[in-house]
Symmetry: C2
Subunit: 300 residues, 2 copies
């Protein structure tokens, strides 16, 4: 199989998917993005879906990453254990056929701190391969389940997951605070007040005050941003403490969605009293594409 | 109006209500308990509901407490500010008619830490009046929104709310962990492991490991109890720290539901390395009835 020419990279998640046709030099030639995540595809439907992606982007070799490799995806691809590098990920690819492969996720098989990721490993490899991410560093990947990943000597060495995004969504949709949390969280005074209040490491002890203040006629302005700041601030403090001895206190890198990235960048800057250095915020889509390219180089 | 004879006490909450016919000496002569909380009653339906309670328990003077005094209840009764005592609560009663009154809630009008309670103040007054609760102490009232209350010189001086119960319910019903969190949380090894893991004050950083462990075939036993221990343990640590200087380090009191009480008692014992002393666990229903009696004594 020729992996030296153009190819298709697919980031196939739980609720969404993105695919790109990429030239050998890394240029994006075409792309698609839709809500066809794995939960919208019946178990026997993935062959047809992949054929449809090729019909739209070109009849090319295709490498996929993300939840497509989970037990609810196309194949349940075994995780590669930490420490993991591009060679190990390439060796662990599940081949549907010689020109269609699914990149494995990474696991931490530690009974006291078990962890799994699918998709983030491709972004991390891409950040390392394309330059901004240093080989010994701490990386934060915000999301529904945010990952903090320790990189040692260019390998994914250790990581941990925070359910911050999911808990915030649950509070927004289903809790007694839901009517107060309408609107998007954004950086600013409200978010900063939440990050400040998270200093005691007790976000769940400050949330109800949003409702009490509203009931008493002394409402806090921008409550959605305050609640987001409370939860993200507590995560940044806890993750920074947990990984401090290994990261040597240097600023973490951020990879992911721009909307969440600006919130995390603001929280990290506030908690560490220093803005994130230039180059520490890495776009998640670019990182994913570069990660697939780096893994393809291992196939040559 | 004669408040020296038998009367009806009603604890009317959001989803449930309990009512008792009580003799002048405090003996419970009859009672009812059902799911007729305020959200099940239309705004104009409370007169008929109260008449129905009298039809079932007796045509007697009636004092009510709880969410029945909220903006979704029978009347929106203004809160009594901290510090609050039985005299202030009696003076703040909202009289529907001369023999039907709603006890006010208590508020903390602090822009940085606004707080409100409705119903817990009656239980606290009851705990103080009937003996087990000392006039200078820290009280925890577990629930959907758990309250920790500082009592100074027999008055409700200051308090704070943790959303622990609601967040646990959200995780159980709506989160990715829901399939793992079936079954009741109970004291034991799983709960104790959760309380121990909460020592770093970062419960949201340990929850996802429940799913990762299950995915990797190294599941934690009794995950519901572990998750409950994580959240309650974090609350007990944070509340103990927040109120430590005022409570002088003495063991807190617990008032409330027995099912939650045993979990909180176990977490407090583990965090403080000492079992709760005898008399520190106070039944919530008895405390409510004694609180209504104590407020009635102020009416004489």
């Amino acid at each position: 199989m020729d992996w030296h020419g153009p190819f298709i990279a697919v980031d196939w998640g739980t609720t969404n998917r993105r695919a790109w046709r990429i030239a050998a030099d890394g240029t994006v030639e075409d792309s698609l993005s839709d809500s066809g995540g794995i939960t919208s595809v019946p178990a026997e439907g993935f062959d047809a879906e992949a054929a449809d992606i090729r019909a739209r982007l070109g009849d090319l070799p295709m490498l996929l990453g993300g939840m497509i490799g989970s037990d609810r995806g196309w194949r349940n691809v075994p995780y590669v254990p930490c420490p993991a590098d591009p060679q190990a990920l390439a060796a662990g690819i599940c081949w549907i056929d010689p020109r269609t492969g699914i990149v494995p996720g990474v696991c931490q098989r530690d009974a006291q701190a078990p962890e799994v990721m699918r998709g983030e490993e491709v972004q991390i490899i891409g950040g390392l391969a394309s330059g901004p991410l240093r080989g010994d560093s701490l990386v934060c990947l915000p999301g529904t389940h945010a990952k903090w990943v320790q990189i040692d000597a260019g390998r994914i060495a250790r990581f941990a997951t925070w359910m911050t995004g999911e808990v915030f969504a649950l509070l927004t949709r289903h809790s007694i605070l839901a009517p107060l949390l309408e609107g998007e969280a954004a950086p600013g005074a409200g978010f900063a007040a939440g990050v400040a209040a998270s200093a005691d490491g007790d976000p769940l002890g400050h949330l109800f005050a949003l409702r009490a203040g509203a009931v008493l006629g002394i409402p806090r302005s921008d409550p959605a941003s305050y609640a987001s700041g409370l939860l993200i601030g507590a995560e940044v403090r806890a993750a920074s403490a947990r990984f401090a001895t290994r990261s040597g206190g240097t600023a973490p890198y951020l990879i992911g969605r721009p909307d969440l990235g600006v919130l995390y960048a603001a929280a990290i800057a506030q908690v560490h009293s220093a803005a994130l250095p230039p180059g520490h915020i890495i776009g998640g889509e670019t990182a994913f594409r570069e990660g697939i390219r780096a893994i393809i180089r291992e196939l040559a």
